[in-house]
Amino acid sequence: MERLLYKGNISGKSCKTQHDINFYKKQTRKILADCGNINPEDIEEYISRGGYEAAKKAVTEMNSIDICQEILNSGLRGRGGGGFPTGRKWLLAQKEINDKKYVICNADEGDPGAFMDRSVMEGNPHSVIEGMIIAALGIGADEGYVYVRLEYPLAVKRIKKAVEEATKLGILGDNIFGTDKSFMIHVMEGAGAFVCGEETALMASIEGKRGMPNPKPPFPAQSGLFGKPTIINNVETLASVPGIIKNGALEYRSIGTKESPGTKTFALTGHVVNTGLIEVPFGTTLREIIFDIGGGVTDDEGNLDPDGFKAVQIGGPSGGCLTAQHLDLPLSFDSLTSIGAMIGSGGLVVMNKNTCMVQVAKFFMQFTQNESCGKCVPCREGTKQMLALLEDITEGKADEHTLEILYNLGLAIKKASLCGLGKTAPNPVLSLLGYFREEIETHVMQQRCPAKKCKSLLTPVVIEEKCKGCGLCIKKCPVGAISGEKKQPHFINEALCIKCGACIEACRLYAISEGV
């Protein structure tokens, strides 16, 4: 038996139950509690664990204001990134008088490095549907949409199956739970546009238009899908709702912090020993997440490296990079906003000391530039210029003004963009300028990349002890920058070298290093 048990990767001790494993010990699994423990394609398993009790309670014992008030009291905040109080959003829509209202589940989780919503939809799709039913009862809607990314085929399949099964049992459709209320859900697949995660763009996409955002106000709660009052909530937000209705707002508030109650799921990835989905109460520190749950930072080969930590990217392309000084900061919506980052949807990408932060910022800028819908000028043109400036830096063409232009441009885009995508696009760069000033200045002033990742800033160097003077690199060099006698160590002329790397590839003795 002993040999089959999971062994802790640090202590080497065998773990008898899941709770002995460090990865799980520090987690509080609420939303993910049943993921992996029930068959997501069988509604009976969800019901046997108390599923749809909250929806039944909402439909038979509560009126719409009670429902919204309970959610407001719980302090639940939107998990999609903004952190807007869910109850307040619902009350806004509840007050509107209209014959038609909609509930939309935003499952267009496009942030690179985030997969919380996918896991909830694949592991426990009925919890999302139950949340939607309660939301519909709360605002008085009779139709709902789940907008899922096309890149998540399994999530699409499971949520469709769940809707089908719930309809069969009379939980969805006409006269739900035998009352006079009705609620039906459509599942719609996205078509590969990141901006559709923005609520007004998402609605445009459902209406069969280009997924471009619209100015707010009017807010969707007043005039949303097809001009009707609409609430849009993230998958995780909706999955939290049944628990609040079932156990009450007070119980929900017992976990987490005062301003950010409850738990949050994070997708922990990158250079960390244990990657995967985690759920912790708000107020947990990054140190606990990365070192206790994640098991520490790894080097490029995947081995544990105790001093390897350099930064952690939180909130995807709209968040920022945090450094060692933030490791003990309790995570919550407000604590992160105050230091120029955001929880976003909850992606956590850990980076070790071999990562070049300028390259990381460039990567995110490239992403937002690609995904910018092109409607407003600050985002469309601004992200392009910011990307060009970052490219200048990595290619050694930047001068002392580049950083200042980059900073001012970033602030302008933040202020003037139409939607959340543009407003948060400069965050990765601004946090780089704030927390990794030294590294970026080294790139600009000394034309050097400390992490040795910016190819254009590296001049190859011959390692004299290894070079046998075969002359192969001399033949391969396209600009004649290498010279040297036969059987004597060769020499690379820095002034002529174009940094193409041909010599590194040609050398059979690995005698040419990427340089400094």
Binding site: G110, P112, E189, T275, L277, V349
Partner: protein, 155 residues
């Protein structure tokens, strides 16, 4: 038009009509309609788009706008095997770029093209597949290949 040509044209659009029928000829269902068309033809042929525009009574410009806005839609035929390399944050940090250039080299893709001339392979990048725990990821058609390295053989 010659009678024979008409028959052929009718056959060609029969599938599209079926799709349009399924979505009740509603223009707000344009995105799912185009998705179904693309699944059928592997891309969005121009005459089919024109046909949809006429049937739904919307301008071809609007359809073109939607078709070019979403990255999933292709106006040129895609290859039999669609190789999608994930370039999300986690995959990027773990080296998706060398992977991408290696595949490009092996497929012998001409510069600026994403599909091989024999219509066998199409190479694409996607922003994130949500499989970051097993980065870097490559998906060939619907099959997911985790933890790829440039050396691992692709088919």
């Amino acid at each position: 038009m010659h009678k024979h040509d008409l028959g052929q044209a009718a056959r060609k659009f029969a599938k599209v009509c079926e799709i349009l029928e399924k979505y009740d000829y509603k223009s707000d269902k344009l995105v799912p309609i185009l998705q179904a068309v693309q699944e059928e033809y592997r891309y969005l042929p121009e005459d089919v788009l024109a046909f949809i525009a006429t049937t739904l009574d919307i301008s071809p410009a609007r359809i073109y706008g939607v078709a070019t806005f979403y990255s999933h839609f292709a106006l040129e035929p895609k290859g039999k095997y669609v190789v999608r390399v994930c370039d999300g944050t986690a995959c990027h940090v773990k080296g998706s770029n060398p992977l991408l250039s290696e595949i490009r080299n092996r497929l012998n893709l001409p510069k600026g093209k994403t599909t091989t001339p024999d219509l066998l392979f199409t190479l694409e990048t996607v922003s994130c597949l949500g499989a970051c725990g097993i980065a870097p990821v490559v998906v060939v058609n619907e099959e997911v290949h985790p933890l790829m390295t440039p050396v691992k053989q692709l088919r």
